[in-house]
Amino acid sequence: MKTTENENIEIEMLLEAIYRKYGYDFRSYSRASIKRRILHRLAISRLKSISELQHRVLYHIEFFEKLLMDFSINVTEMFRDPEFYKTLVKEIIPVLQTFPYIKIWHAGCSTGEEVYSMAIILKEEGLYDRTQIYATDFNEVVLRQARQGIFPLERIKDYTYNYQRSGGKESFANYYTAKYDSAIVDQSLKKNIVFAGHNLATDGVFGEMNMIVCRNVLIYFKKNLQNHVLGLFKASLRHHGFLCLGTKESLMFTEHENDFEAVAGKVKIYRKKIKTLENEASI
């Protein structure tokens, strides 16, 4: 019992130290996953305790960067959850078609697979040329990869399968060039995407979005941080703007449950209601 208790205290102190020193706030992340990551890093670094690891983190930025990679869980894929993309094309694209100009924010975009998937959909629907996509993550290492748009060729088989199940209209091979063991995404998909650093826990609003896509990020946050981020999204969306969450994420039991309505509940696509209490007061 003692060791767990001490470990938990040490973890809190480590997260506090990271926040004070580097500004990254992991204090409100789901603890079980963070703890597994810390214990794993501890084991492979041959350090004796979390306190020792904390010392290393404070005095060696390279060690902190390793831990940051551990914590940020960048696993992603193209056209993950084909059902989501299918619904997007069927229910959301027709609405977006009516706008002269479209702004989309991908928050927590990781290495970019999800963003390029969206670009493909928009292109096939004839919307890409009037869309601006802002793709953000708090991890500079993955952003660098995202900008390059180079993916392991071995994943292409899965991605092609996903693409087809998403209702893709072309041959998936049109969107990349194979070179050695890499797949390089087509340049034309990049032109309206801006990749930028943004930390959902500590940075501010990104204004006037027609759609925000934030999938498989909120599952790592505790309730209070989820509420904070959803507040940020609400403030960044235009009235009636769309919010797309991961298939296992939901607005239920959050503070913002009533600010949104479900458009496609099963795949977690919501729409910001026009009248929320706040802007009712400001009208």
Partner: protein
């Protein structure tokens, strides 16, 4: 053998042959069963929740797909969704993660067992049933290390032996029993028999 109040939760891991094995256990537990049961069954990444639906219909317990932030309750069975790891948080709530697969599996039994052992320590029962691969063997080691109780399906009654065998090789298992003894054993361990 321990007394009823000693346990607070059950975690169960199963792979190949799982649906059949679980059908011998879950529907045969009474609605008054006093512990929450959390299950990782290896599923195809694209499979849906038909499996949960199946069990919901024929069980006295409330069977549901595990969702993030849900507190686990007695009388309920929580099944990990495909393509997500399932973890236990210290507030006794569930959380999900899309971390890379562990032992080629997502959900991984090791991930659930590891985090559950942190939370419930000696008050946890871990069960390994039929399956291929060695997922779960690091998990049962962690449960034992934290003082919990481990049951493994015997090899004769297992459709695939590899997983139960790996668990037995990893630790001194508390009980090795055939599938049909799982329910009476669980009832005994929780003071219901």
């Amino acid at each position: 053998m321990k007394h009823q109040s000693d346990f607070e939760a059950i975690v169960l891991g199963v792979s190949t042959g799982g649906t059949k094995a679980l059908r011998m256990i879950i529907p045969n537990l009474p609605s008054t069963f006093p512990l929450p049961i959390v299950i990782v069954q290896h599923l195809h990444p694209h499979s849906d929740s038909y499996f949960v639906e199946d069990f919901r219909q024929c069980s006295n317990l409330i069977v549901e797909q595990a969702e993030e932030k849900v507190g686990i309750l007695p009388g309920h069975v929580y099944i990990a969704p495909s393509n997500y790891h399932l973890l236990l948080e210290c507030e006794r709530t569930l959380s999900l993660s899309v971390d890379e697969p562990v032992n080629f599996a997502r959900p991984s039994i090791d991930v659930l067992f590891d985090t559950a052992a942190e939370v419930f320590r000696e008050k946890l029962i871990g069960i390994i049933l039929t399956g291929a691969g060695k997922d779960g063997s690091a998990g049962v080691r962690k449960i034992k290390k934290n003082g919990g109780f481990v049951i493994v399906q015997n090899l004769d009654s297992a459709q695939v032996e590899t997983m139960p065998r790996a668990a037995m090789n990893a630790i001194d298992v508390d009980l090795v029993i055939p599938l049909e003894e799982m329910v009476p054993t669980l009832l005994r361990l929780t003071g219901m028999l």
